[in-house]
């Protein structure tokens, strides 16, 4: 990655900067900004001010400190889910492409089935039966559901790369199948994988916050989704002055998703070895 790439894609650069800023805010921020948990009845629903940059909530607590503390879990679940789905997709996609025949058929049919089933209702039903008590369990289930799109892309990529000259050359040199997949084929799919990883993160954020908003997962800890849920059930639809306490987490999630999506746009230039100079 270099400055020229970023200069050519101002949108992507902005996304990257936004994402890095959010990561710093939610990872380093909690060490600097203490979480405000004191109820102050005289400070309820204050508009933004110097003391409270994002105003205060229905108990007079500072909204900004909750935003700072509420992103880490969300990002962790999204990253873990995206990681799991990427590993599954890479494995299934390459097996399907390399093996071909009935294995390929079976894997692709299964992929189509998982792709067709509407995910959010399925997650909601699972949440109803399994009660997602831990964030990790939620991340695993999100990951296990979101691999099909990337699997198809990986399979298509491997199928096309398999026929390229450099792979043929490697085969002729007698390099093993493992070497060919790991050293010749995978590096050429880095941009696909990076883009899908980020998109899987955005899907995980969508589903996770959606489940929290509906109250289908236990509302524990600090989390932007929990803030929206509280904002919604405790004032946003009754009190005009409550707007900042619900707007802040909504904006945080919107900015995070927007940054991720814009950032994914420049991944092709960063990760694709064929587009790199020198």
């Amino acid at each position: 990655m270099n400055w020229a790439t970023l200069k050519r894609n101002p949108g992507g650069a902005l996304g990257l900067a936004g994402f890095l800023a959010i990561v710093v805010l939610v990872v380093v921020g909690p060490l600097v900004v203490p979480l405000d948990t004191t109820t102050r009845l005289d400070q309820i629903y204050q508009p933004p001010s110097l003391a409270h940059p994002f105003g205060t909530d229905n108990q007079g607590r500072d909204v900004f400190s909750q935003i700072v503390h509420g992103g880490k879990d969300l990002l962790w679940v999204a990253t873990l889910a995206a990681g799991i789905s990427t590993v599954i997709a890479l494995t299934l996609g390459s097996i399907s492409a390399v093996a071909g025949g009935s294995v390929d058929n079976a894997v692709m049919t299964f992929t189509d089935v998982v792709l067709t089933v509407p995910h959010f209702p399925l997650l909601a039903v699972l949440a109803g039966v399994l009660q997602f008590r831990s964030q990790t369990l939620l991340a695993i289930i999100l990951g296990v559901l979101s691999w099909p799109a990337l699997t198809r892309a990986v399979r298509a990529q491997v199928l096309s790369l398999k026929e390229r000259d450099f792979v043929e050359a490697a085969t002729a040199l007698g390099l093993g199948r493992g070497h060919i997949i790991a050293r010749e084929i995978l590096p050429n799919m880095r941009s696909y994988v990076a883009i899908s990883f980020v998109l899987a993160m955005t899907q995980a954020i969508y589903a996770q916050v959606g489940l929290v908003f509906l109250g289908l997962v236990p509302l524990s800890g600090q989390n932007w989704g929990v803030m929206i849920q509280y904002g919604w059930t405790r004032g946003a639809i009754f009190h005009k002055s409550s707007v900042y306490s619900i707007l802040a987490p909504i904006m945080a999630i919107a900015v995070l998703k927007l940054s991720l999506v814009s950032m994914a746009r420049i991944f092709d230039e960063i990760f694709n070895p064929r587009l790199q100079e020198g």
Partner: protein, 337 residues
Amino acid sequence: MRKYLAQRIARAVLTIFLVVSFTFFLIRLMPGNPIDLYVQEQVTTYGHTYEQALEQARGFFALDVDAPLSVQYAQYLGNLARGNLGQSILSPGTPVSSLIKKFLPWTLFSVGLALMISFTLGVGLGMLMAYRRESWIDHVLTIIATVTTAVPNYLIGILLLVVLGVQTNLINVAAIRGSLSPGVRPGLTLTFLLDALSHAALPITTYVLATAGAWMLSMKSNTLGTLGEDYVGFARARGLPDRRIAIAYVGRNALLPLFTQLTIAIGFVVGGSALIEYIFNYQGIGLVLYESIVRRDYPVMQGVFLVITVSVVLANLLADLLYGRLDPRVDLTAEPV
């Protein structure tokens, strides 16, 4: 073509079968599964005998709870084939199928109308962006499309309600709750249609705002691709009017790839209806799903989930077949790549 049709239908049936089996085993096999919990609760809380509790569970879930699992599974499949989805636990005597009959049409109406509006709007604006590329209107629309696509649809819904309903009072939130005003009866009357539309307006606006951006961006890039094709240049050389080229040559060809995206959009929008209907308290199938999960009404939850899945699978099948019909260049029998 016939072979393809058979394959697609077989896959749709397989999907439905797998989902049906999955939900059965989820509900029946999990440790502390809903049926066992229900029976236990009847015995410990209400002092019923074990046999009485089993008998009740049998009524609600339409299963011989005591029989071997394979027998139960066969019963379950047989019941499904007859359209018997069990009964609601919370409102005993109400078959799940009647709940679905009552609430599903509202979701199909609002989601279907929204998808049509958003598809048309997205295609139109996308073409406009391609024809006026690098103009201010292209830049403004690109930013709007990127932002609305990235923001989750339920956040758009919350914002609409908070801004229009609470902050500016442009819309009377209380009056548009539910899917119809009290006293209005379904029928082919103007009052009914207007009332139904006014209640569905906010959910539809949310769906449209959340999905139109993706259509706009894809349509723009497809149109740009098509504009460079030889047949468009040739049509120009023949002196055909611009309008005719835009519609019959560029538009038609740029539109086709969007149909494959339509299949994904259908699943996503129907799936997200639980969230949107919860926000606007719109009495559709998504709201029923949400309420059944929160209240642990498992027969309803299971039935509604199946119906949502089946609608999505059927809509996908339809979009796929339509795509094959619309684009003669697509060889449906070819291997998917």
